[in-house]
Amino acid sequence: MAILTKDEAFALLKKVLAYSKADECEVNLSGTDNGNVRYARNSVTTSGRISQSSLVVSSAFGKKLGVATINEFDDASLEKVVRRAEELARLAPENPEFMPFLGPQKYAEPITYVPSTAAITPKQRTDLVEQSLNVAKSSKAVAAGFLEDNAGFSAMMNSKGLFAYNTSTNTNFSVTVRTSDSLGSGYATRGYNDVTKLDTKSATQIATDKALKSATAKAIEPGKYTVILEPAAAAVLMERIFFGLDARQADEGRSFLSKPGGKTRLGEKLVDERVTLYSDPLNPELPTSTWSGDGRPQEKVTWIDKGVVKNFSYSRYWAQKQNARPIPAPDGMIMEGGTKSLEDLIKGTKKGILVTRLWYIRDVDPQSLLLTGLTRDGTFYIEDGKIQYPVKNFRFNESPVIMLNNLEELGKPERTVSVESNQNYLLPPMKIRDFTFTSLSDAV
């Protein structure tokens, strides 16, 4: 199915709703075109184009909900999927947490769609990959990478009169370059809504330089160090705070945002006052959808303001139960920063470690949000404002909450991609004191 216009989506959804005999009915419609190229050992290994579309019908009788999905769009199929959702609703046990569907909402006009990304050709993809491969090959290094692009639309309508529509595009690129003797490794990642902003050559050059410069790594003792986290390294730690903003978990006492005595940390200072974390669907650098999957408007929300926890996200059920504003979980994380570049942060560092990338991040203790993981693909010792030499990789055990209380300085935010979740964020490079490295790794 092609990407439907707003009018086409409206007409199709209207037709589906006309088949409904349930108390309430809600229909979500989406379609995406995905293209990808994967390469390794300086050679393309796989590539693919996947087009998928899906229509999800949710039918409710009282508090009994049935959900059915289909990817065929002829009239008979549309009626069939509505009937199936209704049959499943009749079979379902009553869900005491069921919330009636929302009525009409007002949404801001989204800015997530860039026509040039939707119009990408197979040749453009292979050219982007070729440019990356050429950089690695000319340095006698070995590249492995992944390029993917998406263009899609989503729309929803329900029997209460709600209608929402959005189109979006996205491209993510990552590359790992290793020296031919496997002694050095470097990494770079980029994410944009507009593929014309993607420069695979310069990104691969950065990864290649890191690989060449990291080839003679020295072992230094693990312990507490001042670190400079590049945005890609910060992303995998910061997103754990972002994923943990759910009010119910905190209210139920099973979150790092819960407190002794059955309370939560809402309204309290959690981290350094230079930390402000928000989401904004209309941010031009990181635009996201202006509505959430259940039809609630997505607006600019400040989650942590000058170190103070300002807002939690809520399911509609939990917001009603707690008599709170039903703010949906956000899509893109943005952190305020300063004006300094990564190089400026390095220049101002007496002794420290530059971290390109962190990997294999896992919860160790959800109570304190203690995380573990390792540095990877370019870790360097800094002294007197200069990178002195590459160091062997470390394992860390650190909580992003503790880390943000040990903040030294923030640089200029830039768009980056989490290697763990594939999500895009706008984050500054950050200088942190007393970051806890607990052991050494021989991995390159």
């Binding site: 079979l91 070995v142 994923f243 139920e252 790092f256 005595g261 909580s399 052991s439 021989d442």
Partner: protein, 546 residues
């Protein structure tokens, strides 16, 4: 394992509904799942369309998979049913070799025309990519099996059990946990049925019916006063079995050290949920561990994940060769170490087998996703690295003529590639029970069930947590500990392996969400072991205050 999947399962809130789903899944009525969509004759005729099209377009090899993937999830919390989802995904994937290069195409239109178009797309991709091809594909030969079939040996098809029975079972388990004082409980039942038909230009036509089952829960205990909370996950295993796994037979229950009950080939979810609530209370009150060196006694429900990360992954040949460098990582088990024939991966008692045939395991199938008959083979023998895990286009690189038969794709819409087989530590030859093992330890920790896990991209440095930790003092269990994680280097760790219990204690556990590839694919795999002792491992304290 993929982090997001793990978090969703560990939290098991709404996230439990977001388990890996095949592409193009649609929800179906449970009764529809029991109706076959197509007979073998129809599948063979469609498969031949792909094979003939590929040949006519110049392919030197082609295979086609027609797959129907059925999943069922039942998710509950406390007294509530959160969701019941039945999904079905049906389609075909065609893989070809043209100009020595792979190409892949897939379609959800399982018709002669849909299959022809998917094949043409696969050929076009192979031709376009051959421009970058440096190493033409060399396939190891494999016999033509003709028309054959294989089925997971199940006693009870979970899809035939009524939804009501499943909901009642989970709600009963939840009620038992709440009666014993749990603050919250989430429970989940996950059923999988892969109906896969494979055919290749080499003359094999293979029909397989694969079943997997996983009951799971997370019992939370919150001490509101102190603000502390602990989660105790189920002592179940995901299994390559039918619904009979939930029978909880008396002969499959094991009284373990520290008064715990463990399970072997069937599982009692109600009993375990009650135990979980009791233990979660003790977990909060437990003593915080003193960091330092301990002898670790690791129970099989914990061991599997350490094996998965530190043995299963580094012996995957695609990682060794660099194909996963940008995502899952490479491996410290480089070819020179294998060629030396004396690389001491572990102590002399350490023997690992890779196995795609083990009954009850997640990885067990008759044939892999490129038509190779499955088998078992040695990876580590008497502590020495002797082989890798490799498929048809890889074994020539390690001078072997026969694929190991561990090629897998998570769905018809994804291309198949080398995936981990069941990799298991062989039981000890000496007759030892876990109690006898513990009696020989002066200062140690007995660890039950997998917890936090992390390992570097070449699989040297790892850190593992767990669920239950018991202090061992002078040969005796001396109460529960908390805040425990151990860190080690893979080679040092396996060389510190001092004792392995015998066959009587050997059990399987595993995971559905072994992640690899870009776009990422999930693989289901089991790992077996008996309780095992490691000497002098570094233990850290993970307690922090924020």
């Amino acid at each position: 394992m993929k982090r997001r999947d793990f978090i969703q399962l560990a939290g098991m809130g709404a996230g439990a509904m977001m388990l890996p789903m095949p592409a193009f899944s649609r929800t179906v009525d449970p009764a529809e799942m029991l109706v076959p969509l197509m007979d073998v004759k129809q599948k063979k005729a469609l498969a031949d369309v792909a094979l003939n099209t590929a040949r006519s377009l110049g392919a030197t090899y082609a295979d086609v998979r027609i797959g129907r993937y059925l999943n069922q999830f039942v998710a509950t919390r406390e007294k509530k049913v959160q969701g019941i989802t039945n999904t079905e995904s049906f389609g075909t994937g065609v893989r070809v070799i043209v100009n020595g290069t792979w190409g892949f195409g897939a379609s959800n239109e399982v018709t002669p025309d849909g299959i022809k178009k998917a094949t043409e797309r696969a050929v076009a991709i192979a031709k376009a990519n051959s421009k970058f091809q440096k190493e033409p594909v060399k396939l190891a030969t494999t016999p033509s099996y003709g028309e054959v079939s294989w089925k997971t040996p199940i006693q009870k098809n979970g899809f035939e059990v009524s939804i009501k029975d499943k909901v009642d079972l989970l709600l009963n388990a939840n009620a038992k946990a709440m009666e014993k004082g749990a603050s919250f409980v989430n429970s989940l039942l996950f059923l999988v049925n892969e109906q896969k038909y494979f055919a290749s230009t080499e003359g094999s036509y293979i029909d397989q019916d694969i079943h997997r089952t996983w009951p799971n829960f997370s019992v939370s205990m919150v001490d509101r006063q102190s603000g502390q909370f602990k989660n105790r996950s189920a002592f179940s295993a995901p299994v390559g079995m039918g619904y009979e796994y939930l029978d909880g037979k008396a002969e499959d229950k094991i009284q373990g050290p520290g008064g715990i009950i463990l399970y072997n080939k069937s599982y009692d979810i109600v009993e375990d949920a009650a135990m979980a609530a009791e233990q979660a209370k003790q977990m909060i009150a437990a003593k915080s561990v003193e960091p330092g060196k301990y002898d670790l006694v690791l129970e099989p429900s914990h061991m599997w994940l350490t094996i998965h990360e530190s043995v299963g992954h580094p012996t995957e040949l695609d990682r060794v060769l660099g194909y996963e460098a940008n995502y899952a990582g490479t491996s410290f088990l480089t070819l020179d170490k294998w060629q030396s024939k004396n690389f001491k991966f572990g102590s002399k008692i350490v023997n690992f087998m890779a196995d795609k045939t083990q009954v009850g395991s997640l990885g067990a199938v008759g044939f892999d996703d490129e038509g190779v008959k499955c088998k078992s083979w040695e990876l580590i023998k008497d502590g020495v690295l002797v082989n890798y895990q490799a498929i048809r286009d890889q074994v020539n690189i390690i001078g072997q003529k026969e694929s190991h038969g561990c090629c897998y794709s998570q769905s018809w819409s994804d291309v198949q590639f080398q995936r981990m087989a069941n990799v298991s530590l062989q039981a000890g030859r000496e007759q030892v029970t876990p109690e006898q093992m513990i009696s020989g330890v002066d200062k140690g920790i007995y660890i039950v069930k997998d917890g936090s896990f992390s390992i570097d991209q070449q699989r040297y440095n790892f850190q593992f947590g767990g669920v239950l930790f018991f202090e061992i003092k002078n040969g005796k269990i001396a109460g529960m500990l908390k805040d425990v994680a151990y860190q080690a280097n893979t080679q040092e760790f396996w060389n510190s392996c001092a004792q392995i219990c015998d066959e009587r204690d050997y059990r399987l556990n595993g995971a559905f969400n072994d992640g690899k590839g870009q776009p990422s694919q999930s693989n289901a795999v089991s790992h077996g072991s008996a309780t095992t002792r490691f000497n002098g491992v570094n233990v850290i304290n993970t307690g922090r205050t924020i």
